[in-house]
Symmetry: C2
Subunit: 377 residues, 2 copies
Amino acid sequence: MADLPFVAPPARAGDRLDTIDTPALVLDLDACDANVAALHAQATAAGLAVRAHGKAHRCPELALRQLAAGAQGICVQKVGEAEGFAAAGVRDILVSNEVVAEAKLARLAALAARSGMRIAVCVDDPEPVDRLAAACAAQGARVDVMIEIDVGQGRCGVEQPEQALAIAARIAAAAPALRLRGLQAYHGSAQHYRGPGERADAIADAASKARRFRAALETAGHEIAEISGGGTGSFPNEAGAGVWTEIQAGSYALMDLDYRANDADPRAPKLRQALGVMATVISRRASHAVLDAGLKAFAVDSGLPAMRDPLWRVRGLSDEHAVVEPLEGAAALALDQRVMLDPGHCDPTVNLHDWIVAYRGERVEAVWPVLPRGASR
Amino acid sequence: MADLPFVAPPARAGDRLDTIDTPALVLDLDACDANVAALHAQATAAGLAVRAHGKAHRCPELALRQLAAGAQGICVQKVGEAEGFAAAGVRDILVSNEVVAEAKLARLAALAARSGMRIAVCVDDPEPVDRLAAACAAQGARVDVMIEIDVGQGRCGVEQPEQALAIAARIAAAAPALRLRGLQAYHGSAQHYRGPGERADAIADAASKARRFRAALETAGHEIAEISGGGTGSFPNEAGAGVWTEIQAGSYALMDLDYRANDADPRAPKLRQALGVMATVISRRASHAVLDAGLKAFAVDSGLPAMRDPLWRVRGLSDEHAVVEPLEGAAALALDQRVMLDPGHCDPTVNLHDWIVAYRGERVEAVWPVLPRGASR
């Protein structure tokens, strides 16, 4: 089978930012460090651990920085991501998602069998529990299990405590290959409710659901050591609820237009736009300019990117182009000029790039690989 | 600098299709071969060459098949794509886009300097012409130039013949490093006009613009050997116009929901859905099922993907999930079941995957690498 071809990174440490090759995903390290410090401090003050979500950046170097800044571990959505982060030295990983295929469960067990690893996965159905237990037994591994409960998103997760009890009984029967660690109680859609009151209401409801499930499981003799959930949009609510033990924020380190469109929660730290995409002007007219970054540089599920210069507006994207138009008073763009844009949604935008160009001020400090696209498996 | 991490491909030749790891990009080779044969036959019958657009699939193996099926060369949007295809043995490549950065022009010249290469690029501004000529002179290379004219898309391209004449004069002055090959006359938005009459009107207008530019340039003594344009949505119009010499179709080999939403042109061959994404059911309820493929497996700029089973509807995607719901009469989905989906837009969907799993019937025939994400540079 042919090897994957290689393309050189867009920059090297020490390069001036305005000389890098484009399109390039760039990260303002001062902003990123400030975001990480601010959220971690607030979580710690509230007595919660941070489990930084690696799906947002898929960047092992950035995960190691979050761990160095006090995160107790990371979470990911896929076994491939877990493998990628583990290869870089991350030891405490929760796959905050359901894994059901036999080959993937075997890979997860193999990861958990490595010395010093603390691996957990979510379950919302009794069926895969026995397969996971068999995979662990075959490899002498133990995987912790979080029972996912649907706290309002309507996606994965059990709906009734009876289902959780049935799953917990299967997990208990599979000891020591499996161990029930606790509950996954993440309300993904609430992250993007615009009003802080709406977010507070949704998380209050999620908290009462989580309490009800915890009580049912504890009454049946199961220990619930951890309740995990919360994210960049809602975490002040989870932090104050007295139910969650750890926060799964991810976007906070990067930020995007969608999170910035949320009305601010006065209890939340102000997070800075750390992630950007650098592009180059390749064509220009009086009416518009064309950039060399399009749908293969920006995810548009949460809307178009925005020019960081507020006097230029993104009119539209095609595969490899952005058409941008000047507003009243805009400075003209020159051919070959570099411009910065903010992405609509950080997670799938990072996933369009092989490298994160990390910079401070006007200089590139480091160039970090992003996990390959196959990490979705 | 760290290496890019590696993730194993989702399948191997000989695997049964319903055992491959997911999410996986899959290609029905019977459908793909039929599409390639049908469009190439129609172009040949009309006296036009096919310049298959590599941006659609970014897959060198597939480009080689298109060349074996009679394409005279390929086009791409980026120098990084040109390098990737050239490494696999493609010798005739048009970068159907503007390239202005000095480092990129040097890479393009280096490609053109290799033995046996026939390289062209688009220009819509006099300014980069001298930089391109200098890069070619420095490397003993010749690059052909296509002057891009705006035939209705309103993106790149010159608007007036006077601009084309100024560019042509600069190109002529840079001989032998540069040579004017002809005109890039591509109407991208017309590909997606739903009615065949709308598409015919747009391309008739594009043809008259192209004729006007050709006449002005020929009157001034410039030879216009090639006029390139057309695509999967509009090519019967370009084929019949007597202006274009080659067709830049790309999506025809793969197909997607957006092209299928066009009302059929009775002159066009019926193209089959060759591209798909295979996903696995990871959670299920009476109301819905959840798949392991989301925004990192499907581009949604042209709408959500569709379940190939018409009795299931995609309700929404998040980063790593699709929520699908049954319509009246739908067969239940089992946990761990594989399901196939059709992408909304093929080009940026392919770009989310490292490998194309090429299959016939129920067996994997080959697994082909896709150019890395950095090919956008």
